[in-house]
Symmetry: C2
Subunit: 339 residues, 2 copies
């Protein structure tokens, strides 16, 4: 399978490492022989119809800061040029999330779909802002579109709901979808003030320098929008979600909750089409009451009650592993189509 | 799809209720039109090649204690007779679990497989004692064999591991697989002595009159054997599992653990081919540290860390919902074969 990688940051590099270490496995277990024919980052690109050497690609990025250093004659082709000049079946979109315009991810995905490439993305922006129309475009072009990594990182929250609970109606769900805020709230439960906990999260690399996406609930809301579309069939965007972040929480709120064996968590919920992200007091014995950077979601189903899934919500290797899952699923779906 | 039901206790009756309430759903969403052509319980059977009326079947069982009361001329046919005389594509085995001989479930499943029927079972006995040979027989006869309900009741533990984590190697797993013992240990954490907690579990219907299967760890070990085969590809039976129950636990063990923010849980684990069920001290913040009758399993994967699934481990409706999941999966697998 010939693949174009768009974006080569932490996730892209982790993916390259997994593909290197699992090459024989992917072939023998799933019949997948991935060949990276192009890789673009913000400074340029590397292309080879015969397939790029992933060790050299990682080395170029590490030593020179861009994949364009892969070749002597550095290439400045745009994605449109690459799509015109290179044959490929799959495009993997891994540019940074932008929740205002969804760009450049949205344009990349649309270009890929229009040129009949299957798409895997780990970029929440395009889906949070345009899920219904992207799914429509994918169906119209008869291509496979997968995005496991947009919710839960390496934890297969979307697949769990879609593939493991398909015997039943899911009535509602709620959970912790943002690891950064959960880390901060957990640290506050250990006694740190909000600003101390935030600085600790920054020091550990869990929070960005401008952490508003996390703190104000935009990240959780974007994941909630994706889940509402994919799992519940609602046609919504991030703008349909009522949203409140954690910046108004102080230590006394946390302490009061703790006295009653409760915790304050940033909970995203979907209940009777009501979509909301807000700080919520939950019982410490509630299965979604997890600490640190963990994510957790409880699905309430019609006949068999609540089911909870817990795991890491972010991380390069984790998110890259979700791309491999999507790759396997697309391979299997294509094989079925051919039959 | 024509179906033979073997066993019509709580799970079988719950299944009939779900099939009644979801008939149109199953047809429109999945193309499944289930027709129950025979139903056997320990006292007799009801048969109709045209399909049994499930309302009347439930009424017969409720009022007369056996499905044989469905017709005026009560039928005493054996499963072998039924299989010879009735055409069907699927057999659903729901007789009580027997961990000594696995009968009558084992013979029922083998009869069904030999007559080329797809099989769904919720009976742990045959799988705990003969998993490798049953899978071989299923493959030899080219039939679909599903058993979601044997582990986790309505909580899709087996599917989660098999379908959602397939991008990665699962290195190990551990969890709480028996709700009865977990309920007793939770009650002991609330201050009850072992016998008080056991009596409470009996009063609530969580424990049998002779609860050795649960208390001595046989039930958890049988589920562990099934998981080790299905998820890890080990060829083992319940006899390969080191097993210790909870009857040796007293209140002081629980209290000592609680003082260090720990709990005592009956943990089933599979690590480097080492298979074990035993009371284990775990941290209260560990995601698998759930209370009451809940089940919880953490899978440790190669690239994306630990993933935990939590839900109810038993119950008629819960287990019946797992049968519906299996039914949908078999329907989809057959459709693929036809293509």
């Amino acid at each position: 399978m010939r693949i174009i990688l768009v974006g080569f940051g932490v996730v892209g590099q982790s993916l390259a490492k997994i593909l290197l270490s699992r090459a024989s496995d992917l072939y023998t277990l799933y019949g997948i022989n991935p060949k990276i024919v192009a890789c673009l980052d913000s400074k340029g690109c590397a292309i080879s119809q015969a397939g790029l050497d992933l060790d050299r690609l990682l080395e170029a990025k590490l030593s020179k800061g861009t994949v364009a250093a892969y070749d002597e004659c550095q290439s400045q082709l745009s994605l449109a040029d690459v799509i015109d000049g290179i044959e490929a079946e799959l495009l993997i979109e891994m540019t940074p999330t932008n929740l205002d315009s969804a760009e450049p991810g949205l344009a990349n995905i649309i270009s890929g779909m229009r040129s009949s490439k299957h798409i895997i993305t780990v970029n929440k922006g395009p889906l949070a802002l345009a899920f219904p129309s992207l799914v429509e475009l994918a169906n119209h072009n008869n291509i496979k579109f997968r995005f496991s990594g947009t919710v839960g990182g390496g934890t297969p929250i979307l697949e769990f709901a879609k593939r493991c609970l398909n015997g039943e109606r899911i009535i509602s769900f709620r959970g912790i979808l943002n690891g950064t805020t959960n880390y901060i709230l957990s640290k506050m439960e250990d006694g740190l003030k909000f600003n101390e906990a935030l600085n600790d999260a920054k020091a550990k690399g869990y929070a960005e320098a401008s952490p508003s996406l996390d703190l104000d609930g935009y990240d959780a809301a974007s994941k909630l929008a994706i889940m509402a579309n994919w799992i519940m069939g609602l046609k919504v965007t991030i703008r349909d979600i009522k949203r409140e972040g954690i910046t108004g929480i102080d230590l006394s709120d946390i302490k009061n909750a703790a006295m009653n064996k409760n915790s304050v968590k940033l909970i995203a919920s979907c209940d009777n089409k009501r979509l909301e992200v807000k700080p919520t007091i939950i019982k410490k014995v509630d299965p979604i009451c997890v600490n640190g950077t963990l994510n957790a979601v409880t699905f309430c189903s019609e006949y068999s009650g609540d089911k909870t899934i817990i795991g890491r919500g972010a991380g390069g290797m984790e998110t890259a592993s979700s791309i491999v899952r999507d790759l396997i699923e697309i391979r299997e779906a294509i094989a079925e189509d051919v039959l």
